[in-house]
Point group: C2
Chain length 312, copies 2
């Protein structure tokens, strides 16, 4: 018998803490529909402005729906989490530049910026008239409780998954997530309508979401960090036409990623007429960072790929 549970978004937690009591206890094989809040907890509206980014105050942790205890899960087991469905639960999404956060520092972007995306057609996130990024929704945060006691920030990803922001964790992918405590204590949140590999400005197309997951257990599988298997080819939504790519070389991958994104921002400003803020936001939402080579010492190459099919 297939059992489907439902957790609404009325209650959230904002930390990883293995002392949190489960909101729900399920059997392996069960499915759970999670209603998730967006990363800013519903703060933004379609009418929000750039000034609202700072007015919001400091980040207090991702609001997460959970935890769910999985019966029989023991430390050392691996959860197999089938991502059955991820969908927007609002007709808009948002992307914010917050000075001091993100890949490019304040010297590049000193002012806050907010873009509201129209998600109402169900297939694309639209910015203005000419940019439509295909929706490929996934939860930015999927994680389990850590084995260390106490409260842990939701910001960095860790061995428990968490704020992974891995854009391939879309419907059809199966996530393999090691359990660190009995019951695992799984939570989810921070759904994104679209994101590039890198999420360079620190936000994607952030949205209220609904995430449907089926949980299984694999014992005796040695695994120290999250792994996953996709159902089919990657990025099929954006892999429809030419890509424009910038490259940057050097001994430091982080600096090269910064430089490749700076070149892409220059390109988007010069060739596509975007403001630098719009360009940075588009990089975060639609540009993929690849490590092209990491062996031709002393210079590695990081490349940034822009799918040009997003321009309509």
């Amino acid at each position: 018998m297939t059992i489907t549970h439902h957790l609404d978004r009325s209650t959230v937690h904002r930390e990883w803490n293995n002392a949190l009591p489960p909101r729900l206890t399920i059997d392996p094989g069960d499915t759970v529909i999670f209603d998730t809040r967006d990363a800013a907890d519903g703060y933004y509206a379609p009418s929000s402005t750039h000034a609202d980014v700072l007015a919001r105050g400091p980040f207090r942790g991702h609001p997460l729906t959970g935890p769910v205890s999985i019966k029989g899960a023991r430390r050392g087991d691996v959860l197999t989490i089938e991502i059955l469905d991820v969908k927007p639960a609002a007709a808009f999404g948002w992307t914010a530049i917050r000075p001091g956060r993100g890949l490019l520092p304040e010297a590049d972007f000193s002012k806050p910026h907010l873009t509201i995306w129209d998600l109402s057609n169900g297939t694309h996130a639209r910015m203005g008239r000419n940019i439509a990024v295909p929706i490929a929704p996934f939860p930015g945060v999927m994680g389990v409780a850590l084995d260390e006691p106490g409260s842990h920030s939701t910001m960095p990803p860790r061995k428990n998954g968490g704020n992974m922001d891995v854009k391939q964790l879309t419907a059809g992918t199966t996530l393999f997530l090691p359990a660190w405590v009995d019951g695992a204590l799984f939570s989810v949140g921070d759904a994104h309508a679209a994101q590039g590999d890198g999420e360079v400005c620190v936000t994607a197309v952030e949205m209220m979401g609904q995430v449907t997951l089926r949980f299984g257990l694999a014992s005796g599988r040695e695994q120290k960090e999250p792994q996953f298997r996709t159902r089919g080819p990657l990025a099929s939504a954006t892999e429809r036409g030419p890509c424009f790519a910038t490259t940057a070389h050097g001994p430091d991958l982080f600096a090269s990623a910064q430089q490749a994104i700076r070149y892409m921002i220059d390109h988007l400003a010069t060739e596509r007429g975007l403001s630098r803020e719009e360009a940075y936001i588009l990089c975060s939402v639609a540009v993929d960072l690849k490590i092209s080579e990491i062996v031709d010492a002393p210079n590695w190459i990081v490349s940034a790929f822009l799918p040009e099919s997003i321009f309509t």
Copy 2:
């Protein structure tokens, strides 16, 4: 009138040096067919063994076909290089592990290893009976002379392109390469039949090749490093089925790339029965490194993607 030139592989150079005389001078709009030697200068044969890797002695620089001087090219111009065709010029390719080189150090791989790939069917590089990597040939090295005088190693990529090892530079892609000296002095070599983003063991499926390029000139385009535009979707050959992916998190992208590849080698050994050397070589040839997120301080995530359609 379209003019097509041909440069054979009888003569090569093994350094970047703006004092090298051009083998050929062409007009913008001309096409050149380059016969290229493989990175080991024809040293390996289908009968070669692991011992041959060290017997070969130290690397003396990539053998490059060129230079070609492009009339009218001035420092500050950008060459537009249309990659019209890249094909194998031999029925086999090779991949070598050389201790002390590559992403994983001697502690992981202390012995040399050589894999000979069968390229004879023209569409796939075959390793044994069960692995067939689709051929997506590209030149590992495309570059122009530097503005600094003297001899410069071909190993690291630089602002002049060079040993970029960017796997998306396949037929159909247009490379935009800044010129640093008058005439540009372009050379090409080091063709690869297939490679993963990262080229982690330091060699791809190395091969003798034939590369056909059409040269153009763009003036007044500010560009400091190579950029390019693909003709269509990326990696269409391998994007045919599920991918298995490992992730590694941490504050250092290089260390996370190493760890993600170690996990992938474990996976290939455990789940697919490969030796660790075969697994490392397969990672270099077919696994793509992505920067999944680079903003969730202090932990970035590097992911390694294996297209499972290569297993037959």
